[in-house]
Symmetry: C2
DNA sequence: GAGTGGTCTAGACCACCGA
DNA sequence: CGGTGGTCTAGACCACTCG
């Protein structure tokens, strides 16, 4: 039999759907515009809702869409470039628009994975500083900064029991230390419940986990684990002295 | 009625499942061990297969599991740390274990997003070099390197029609140029069909997209778009002169 | 061919948001 | 309250790998 297998696409429906939607997004939709709801879209394309959702999920992962329960699906703006590099040493920070905001500070044991990076500080108590990074009025990252007690010996134990005030104290002490280098890694993760709440996302949302080790002369002075919203963020690194500028700075310069 | 709402978990089943599985993975399984198949697991936990799969998907995203069609689900080894920083200027490369392998080289127009970064080279033809990065015998990244003709004028047009030989020619010319800086960004994406094949994954698999702009005195000399397997890779950046070493190098030093 | 994960369906109910 | 996206089910078939 001349079974010529006419155009046996062999391409998953959701994948093809994603492509079609992606092109439609480019041509027929403006940023912020809301799409038809999932049931209508599925019917329009003649697929089950689950299949349609699989395509939407991918597009959301790529930062093309934004979905909110009870509201709808909207076209997402281009990802924000957030700088993850130098200029980090201004621990005090808080003034700039593109900065970290200390939220609170507790004390306790570090998770094993973190403790392993804080050489020698096996069972030691650490200060845990919670910070939020806000860009354009939107929180893009949540961080836990682990600072061994031994790194900031000057800190009086009863400076403030917890809260932002104490967080700022720890950061100030860290600043006084004078760090000489850091060591960073980026990987994909999913948001824990607490991070998800800070980032206004559902638990399990994809995040970029940036782990930074801060060195002082005496060794590792602190470890930071920052989780960035993977859907809305593009992490930028200024490895050169060259013209690395974030979008935000570009806008500021334009004015 | 005394509806005390006993323990209304209010936590999605798949999320709870993920937690349970994650703990089981830590305690009861060794790296490489294969899990029971999805139908059995779903039955064991009393959920539908789709729900079980949602949990497995998350765990795979976090690099805890590895799933292969026709084979099964296995416990994944810890993520590989791959260095994404200096030492990149050895364009010729190819000798080291942890290096890029040129695969082929074609010529054509750059995608608009890339062209926008190659200032001034709007409609110009560019060399497109395909490279694969292999670590521990496993390909971890696929790259497309876009080099405007004007960046490598010395390159004879008919050096080699395509293939690895020509790729090496382009890289050699680029090396002669002497670059003075680069500018990098990392974001989440999903693998295009061609990248997926190189990375031995299915299309749409989550990847970390590293976009690098290489500067020469005259401006942007080249743009690279590298996609790393998000499930198996941890990108590391040596921002300090300090002891940033990859796992591979550690092993090499140990010997 | 038997067994695996990958895709797809057609329903159902739930949590959340806004009018 | 109605409409949205988020979760879940119980099935079916497919593509792939391996013995």
């Amino acid at each position: 039999m001349g079974t010529t297998q006419l155009e046996s696409v062999q391409e998953p429906k959701y994948w093809h759907l994603k492509t079609v939607l992606s092109e439609a997004l480019d041509s027929d939709f403006a940023v912020g515009e809301i799409l038809p709801n999932e049931r209508d879209l599925a019917a329009r394309f003649g697929v089950a809702r689950a299949t349609l959702r699989q395509a939407l999920e991918q597009l959301e992962l790529e930062g093309r869409l934004q979905r909110r329960r009870g509201v709808g699906t909207t076209v997402a703006p281009p990802r924000v470039g957030v700088a993850v590099a130098a200029a980090q040493h201004d621990w005090a920070g808080g003034d700039s628009d593109e900065a970290w905001q200390p939220v609170e500070c507790t004390t306790g044991k570090a998770p094993v994975a973190v403790a392993a990076m804080l050489d020698g500080a096996a069972g030691e108590d650490v200060h845990v500083v919670r910070r939020i990074r806000v860009t354009r009025g939107q929180s893009v990252a949540a961080e836990l900064l682990y600072v061994p007690r031994s790194s900031v010996p000057e800190l009086s134990a009863i400076d403030a029991p917890s809260g932002p005030a104490r967080a700022r104290s720890v950061l100030r002490e860290l600043h006084r230390l004078g760090l000489d280098g850091q060591d960073r890694s980026v990987e994909l993760g999913s948001a824990r419940a607490d991070d998800a709440k800070e980032l206004d996302r559902l638990p399990g949302a994809p995040v970029l986990v940036v782990t930074t080790r801060y060195f002082a002369v005496s060794g590792t002075a602190a470890v930071s684990v920052a989780t960035y919203r993977a859907d809305t963020c593009r992490l930028t690194f200024g490895d050169s002295g060259a013209l690395e500028i974030s979008h935000e700075e570009q806008e500021r310069q334009a004015s």
